[in-house]
Assembly symmetry: C2
Homo-oligomer: 244 residues x 2
DNA sequence: GATTGGCCTTGATAGCTGTCAAAAGTAGCA
DNA sequence: TGCTACTTTTGACAGCTATCAAGGCCAATC
């Protein structure tokens, strides 16, 4: 029992987290990691379907996904919902709240998940003391912008088939960056949620999955998807709506 | 002559810049402003059509638009160009470069413009000393994410007519935030560039301008556009693709 | 094991936007 | 002023995606 709780406490620290090469701790030395550990004390389980935060909530903490999968959606003034991201392990949520001190998005767990809460005001204080942590935080903010631009490119230039292909490749790349097999993708979101994210209707998403399957590029079994022809799928995205 | 150059040097400082309530200096006291002034020494003219930076350039400086208008476009692996922003006065460019230490976008002046160059490494050093500047910088990064999400909502949920209406309202709001008349919009970009930004073809953009004009919501005279019915235009965006 | 409800797939049709084409408008320049 | 090149507008038509509809699959429940 004592051993178990010791191991649990180890797992509960940034310094031993398997995601430290992806998340906030990247590039820190032991002393710096210790200070970050002091800050990120609160871990929290979020069950499937449960909200972690809602639009309008004051920004208390940023949250890093430790295990599981989330969706972030925003609601326009006209009442339309748009999913803006599907954060997975090692990704931060709530970065867009800093500008207004209140969350703009709603975060829902797509499966039973666990997050590390990072009190934002205390984080900013710590950043001033730890230049390397500051730089890594800026890289994560900047990376979020870059990744949003990637989605804008998908939304603005691609046909339905390419959008779905790009979506699968994006997930595949992110899995690979976490040391997981890049070919096998377990989708925690529905066709409707994929469609919302990609600017498509759920029927169109379904049709495109079928088309990619019929073309032999992927195999599907419900929400389990396997990429059979990785290179062909990437070439499809590259050629794009534009041929040479 | 002496007076002129004195006035010029005043205008060349963050502490006296008319954009200090929008840009990086927001919230700083006199001493802090002085340190920022020391950092942001280089102003640079960029003539219409000229590039300020290109994708792949190492990140040396962020740039704040002082006067004029830019477009930022990214080129996908497949060679497709996508405009991701039209920065105007007081807006920062190059934030997405921090994550990779190299620019991802290409910045082109749409008209003769002037920018303030902010050496990034020195900025990060200064941020550690000036918590308020650090917080404002984070707000601007966060605001860039929020604004990208706004565009994703437009791209993902709106029809062509609503996209163009939302585009005009966005420009109108940003002009108003700078104390300029919100109804009169001088577009420095072509129909093709608007279309690229909104995920539409130039002909469709032109048709939607004509439709909004025929409906009495706007008046057009080439690239000069006037919003005649501001509320009606906003209502149009709100009702969106969704009734009720 | 049958039933129920949610999600996914597939088909037929309609509507919106893209494509192709031509003419009109605008700006720069000799 | 007149020329040229570019941008914008407008029209006709095709193609892609949304819509409407029905049926199948799966898991949870009784």
């Amino acid at each position: 029992m004592a051993v178990t709780s010791f191991e649990a406490s180890l797992r509960q620290r940034c310094s031993n987290c398997s995601l430290r090469e992806i998340c906030l701790p990247l590039g820190l030395d032991a002393e710096e990691l210790g200070k970050l550990d002091d800050l990120v004390k609160r871990r929290r389980r979020v069950f499937a379907g449960q909200h972690l935060f809602r639009a309008g909530d004051p920004l208390q903490s940023l949250a890093a996904v430790r295990t599981g999968f989330f969706k972030i959606y925003e609601v326009s003034a006209g009442g339309h919902e748009q999913i803006t991201a599907f954060p997975m392990e090692g990704e931060l949520m709530g970065l867009d709240a800093i500008s207004t001190d209140a969350h703009r998005g709603n975060a829902v767990a797509l499966e039973d998940s666990e997050v590390c809460e990072i009190p934002f005001t205390r984080l900013e204080t710590l950043l001033s003391d730890l230049p390397r942590l500051q730089h890594q935080f800026h890289k994560l903010l900047s990376g979020a912008i870059a990744s949003d631009h990637g989605l804008m490119m998908v939304l603005g230039t691609m046909t339905a088939e390419l959008k779905v292909a790009a979506f699968l490749l994006n997930l595949s790349d992110r899995l690979e960056a976490r040391g997981q097999p890049r070919a096998i993708i377990r989708l925690p979101m529905s066709r409707e949620e994929i469609g919302n994210y990609l600017g498509l209707k759920l029927e169109t998403v379904s049709r495109m999955f079928s088309r990619l399957r019929d073309d032999g590029l992927i195999a599907t079994e419900g929400r389990k998807t396997e990429i059979l022809e990785h290179k062909a799928l990437r070439d499809l995205c590259l050629q794009g709506p534009l041929r040479a």
